[in-house]
């Protein structure tokens, strides 16, 4: 009985170490129950709505635990604000409600996603200011108290490191914002039925990882009768299978090699680095588009159209084309609600370029609270602006194969190079661990560094509860380091285990990889690499071939599947599931886009 109840707990209770994924066994079991009940009640509009909402909340609870309350509060707030916007007679009042709603949504998003980022940068900035006494004096003369508190932050290296990022908060917040903006712009009448709105916000296929379905596309679908068409069910199953294959077979498997190289690129050859970069290029596409396919497929089977999210993005011939094909639901959201709100292309060419740049700057920031995402987004913004500026010239170049090939190559190379910055993380170069007996006696204060010739000395300070001043408990010396990371945990004996690592920062990691590829890539490694990583290479080839496949063929294959006999559909599905299991034994990676 204990075992049985433990298994039930595993299925129904939240576990922070394994949020639910579409390609997990738990979801398979839950979905089987869900779709059976759905099939029984789908003609009763109210029952099905309440059931899908309840399942949506449960699904979110399985992903983020009690932060499910945040989802409910978001739904209540924006539903009410949309009604208030509609009811307000004066434009300025409508605007007031809109601004209020957007600010609330962005504050929630900002708190969970960007608090640490802001504090970290504030800390660094104040530390940096400390190097300029004249500036310090000047600011103190303006407002000494403010600066004093900043100094405290800097001195204590204050960071709220344990803020949990609820999964999917970036997605449902953006959906919610799209709804109130559409109502404000009079492009969508507000729904007066809270159940309908909750259905939209909590619809589980797209709840935690998109696509970001706009209210004007989705809400009209839930007011009428749910129409589940035969072709859509089989097209949905096809999408689930292709999504499973892309996410759970290709992306998860090839990620393992990529992770090895990205965590220590300096130890690999140029060719191996090149393969990892190409590997990540395919991985991120298969991971995200695969998950989107599954979401869209589930939606289709339930009778809902969630649009498309990827349209063979690596076939793009220019960067504008790329953003029309990559994460379409996000790029159209940014276009409709950010780019257009800033004036779009209506206020002259320079403001158009500025708007493009800023849109992608914020788009980059949406992906994560890290400067590398900002740089990635900004570079894309800059490229979009340059392409816009040169468009009239580029359009005059003849549309012949060599030109198209060059355009494709340049676009692909640009996208790949930026993926390196997107993926690279700070990596530990050297680590040293020491233990302080009885953890309860110590409070970590800070770690300071001092440069002495070629050696960097790290002093780790702990407060031992007795000595009034900071106590230097350990000094570690390293040669060269971009930065230092101090991690401590209480070990099994109750002692404090402190690990000090010298880190190579993400930008340098990216540069190391590029330098390796440019200066050390040799054809001599092609055969040994193939011999050592055959499965990896085969999956890479399959992945890129699936992507390079002409769009018409892809549609044709889907149509053949949709029209195929029942037994073929069953066998194909069994084969795909077996493939997932086969490759799952080689260990699964978490879904990349959960971090956003």
């Amino acid at each position: 009985m204990d075992l049985f109840s433990a298994r039930l707990r595993d299925i129904f209770l939240y576990d922070s170490t394994s949020p639910i994924l579409f390609n997990s066994g738990t979801f398979f079991i839950l979905f089987l129950f869900f779709i059976t009940i759905y099939a029984l009640i789908h003609k009763n509009r109210l029952s099905v709505s309440l059931f899908v909402i309840a399942f949506g909340y449960f699904f979110y609870y399985k992903s983020s635990g009690l932060y499910v309350i945040l989802l409910a509060l978001t739904a209540i707030t924006d539903f009410s604000l949309a009604l208030a916007i509609d009811k307000a007679k004066q434009r300025k009042n409508k605007k007031l409600f809109l601004v209020f709603g957007v600010v609330i949504s962005l504050t929630v998003l900002g708190f969970f996603k960007y608090t640490n980022f802001i504090l970290e940068n504030l800390t660094n900035f104040v530390k940096y200011l400390g190097d300029f006494p004249a500036v310090v004096q000047f600011i103190k003369s303006l407002n000494g108290d403010v600066f004093k508190s900043f100094e405290e932050i800097a001195k204590n290296n204050f960071q709220l490191t344990d803020i949990f990022l609820p999964i999917g908060v970036s997605f449902f917040t953006f959906q919610s914002i799209s709804y109130i903006i559409e109502v404000y712009r009079d492009k969508l009448p507000p729904t007066r039925n809270f159940i309908d709105y909750s259905f939209y916000i909590t619809f589980f296929p797209q709840l935690v990882a998109g696509p970001i379905v706009k209210a004007k596309l989705f809400l009209p679908q839930i007011t009428g009768k749910i129409n589940i068409r035969k072709e859509e069910i089989w097209a949905g199953l096809w999408l689930i299978m292709t999504g499973l294959f892309k996410k759970a077979v290709i992306a998860d498997y090839i990620s393992q090699y990529n992770d090895f190289v990205f965590s220590a690129p300096q130890t690999y050859t140029g060719y191996e680095n090149l393969m990892a970069i190409l590997g990540y290029t395919l991985q991120i596409y298969c991971d995200f588009s695969g998950y989107s396919d599954m979401a869209i497929g589930l939606g289709k089977i339930m009778g809902f159209d969630l649009g498309i999210n990827f349209n063979f993005p690596y076939k793009s011939l220019n960067i504008t084309d790329f953003w029309r094909r990559w994460h379409i639901s996000l790029s159209t959201w940014l276009r409709d609600y950010l780019y257009i709100s800033m004036g779009g292309n209506r206020k002259g060419k320079w403001k158009t370029y500025r708007n493009l740049f800023l849109t992608m700057f914020f788009g980059g920031l949406w992906h994560g609270a890290n400067w590398k995402f900002v740089i990635w987004g900004s570079a894309h913004g800059l490229a979009l602006a340059i392409h816009k500026a040169l468009k009239s010239v580029l359009d005059k170049i003849p549309d012949i194969f060599p030109v198209r090939f060059t355009a494709w190559f340049l676009t692909f190379a640009f996208v790949i190079i930026l993926w390196i910055f997107f993926r690279a993380t700070d990596i530990a170069e050297n680590s040293s661990t020491f233990t302080l007996p009885n953890a309860a006696n110590y409070t970590y204060i800070s770690a300071t560094t001092a440069q002495n010739d070629s050696t960097k000395t790290v002093q780790v300070y702990f407060f031992d509860g007795k000595t009034p001043k900071d106590t230097v408990t350990q000094i570690v010396a390293y040669a060269k380091a971009d930065k230092i990371r101090v991690k401590s945990k209480i070990n099994e004996n109750g002692d404090l285990e402190v690990t000090v690592s010298t880190m190579i920062n993400a930008y340098r990691v990216a540069l190391i990889m590029m330098k390796k590829v440019v200066s050390e890539t040799s054809i001599d490694y092609v055969i040994p690499f193939w011999t050592a990583h055959q499965t990896w290479m085969i999956l890479m080839l399959i992945g890129f071939l699936m992507h390079a496949n002409p769009t018409l063929w892809t549609e044709k294959i889907k149509e053949i599947y949709v029209r195929s006999p029942y037994i073929i559909k069953l066998i194909t599905f069994v084969i795909v599931v077996q493939l997932v299991i086969q490759f799952k034994s080689a260990d699964v990676q978490p879904f990349i886009y959960f971090q956003f």
């Binding site: 075992l3 298994r7 398979f28 779709i35 130890t267 285990e497 086969q582 034994s585």
Partner: protein
């Protein structure tokens, strides 16, 4: 009633039944060299619940009972079986010196790319224990599963099987020399083997080969010195492991096993 929707449900249901049944089957289906892997339903239903997250600190571990074990010091020569993954390549070179000085015999078995899942599923460990008859086993395993998510559920059964295979033979499970934080393999070993059978290699700093993972021979020698020191001072089964100052000639007696084709 939507007939197609029910057809779809039967596809999901039949697939579920097939994989559920296969996961409980006592046979394996092979297609050429490839064995069709089973879904994890059986493991999921039969695995013993483990404490998760912060509760671990207060969770009574196997290691808590270690103090009750009697410390044994054996001064006689040992037959050591050094078995595990490729990480032991460097260790065996130094263990040769220890064996030479202290009069022990040893045999190495390197199963390339191996994981707890392999040793816990097949009788490789049992086979070498039966044929070599060691008086002490040094198991070096875990480096190929540093990043397995939910490892405490996925690998618990295999870790338990391995420990069961040790039977009454004194052993140490040398944890992996982490080059990145692991997802729980070290905790899993510690929780099941206990403190007196677990050497935390992750706490050492290594110089590594170009692959970024395997310690250099020089670094592996220091690693082996630390394990020897642990055997002398912290293990419940202690034996003579005086640190050698010179290298002993000869090649280690090693059996190399190729990776499984999964």
């Amino acid at each position: 009633m939507n007939k197609t929707l029910w057809q779809f449900i039967t596809i999901i249901l039949i697939t579920f039944i097939l994989f559920f049944a296969y996961s409980f089957a006592d046979f394996e289906i092979k297609a050429g060299d490839i064995t069709l892997q089973k879904a994890g339903f059986k493991d999921f239903l039969e695995s013993v619940p483990t404490a998760k997250g912060k509760a671990l600190k207060n969770f009574k571990r196997v290691s808590d009972t270690i103090n009750a074990e009697k410390v044994v010091t054996d001064t006689t020569a040992q037959r050591i079986l050094l078995i595990g993954d490729s990480m032991l390549e460097g260790l065996m070179l130094r263990l040769k010196d220890y064996a030479g000085l202290n009069g022990h015999e040893f045999k190495s078995v390197i199963w390339y790319s191996s994981q707890s899942k392999w040793y816990g599923s097949y009788d490789t460990l049992k086979y070498f224990i039966r044929t070599y008859k060691p008086t002490y086993v040094m198991l070096v395993l875990g480096a190929n599963e540093l990043f397995v998510p939910d490892i405490k559920t996925k690998r618990l059964k295999y870790v338990k099987n391995i420990i069961k295979d040790m039977d009454t033979i004194p052993y140490v499970w040398v944890g992996p020399p982490n080059w990145k934080d692991d997802t729980g393999i070290n905790e899993l070993i510690l929780e099941n083997a206990g403190k007196s059978h677990y050497f935390p290699s992750k706490n050492l700093t290594y110089k590594r080969f170009k692959d970024g993972a395997h310690p250099t021979h020089e670094s592996a020698a220091i690693w082996m010195d630390s394990i020897a020191s642990w055997i002398r001072t912290k293990s419940t089964f202690r034996f003579k492991m005086v640190q050698p100052t010179e290298k002993y000639k000869g090649s280690p007696n090693a059996t190399l096993l190729q990776p499984l084709k999964e």
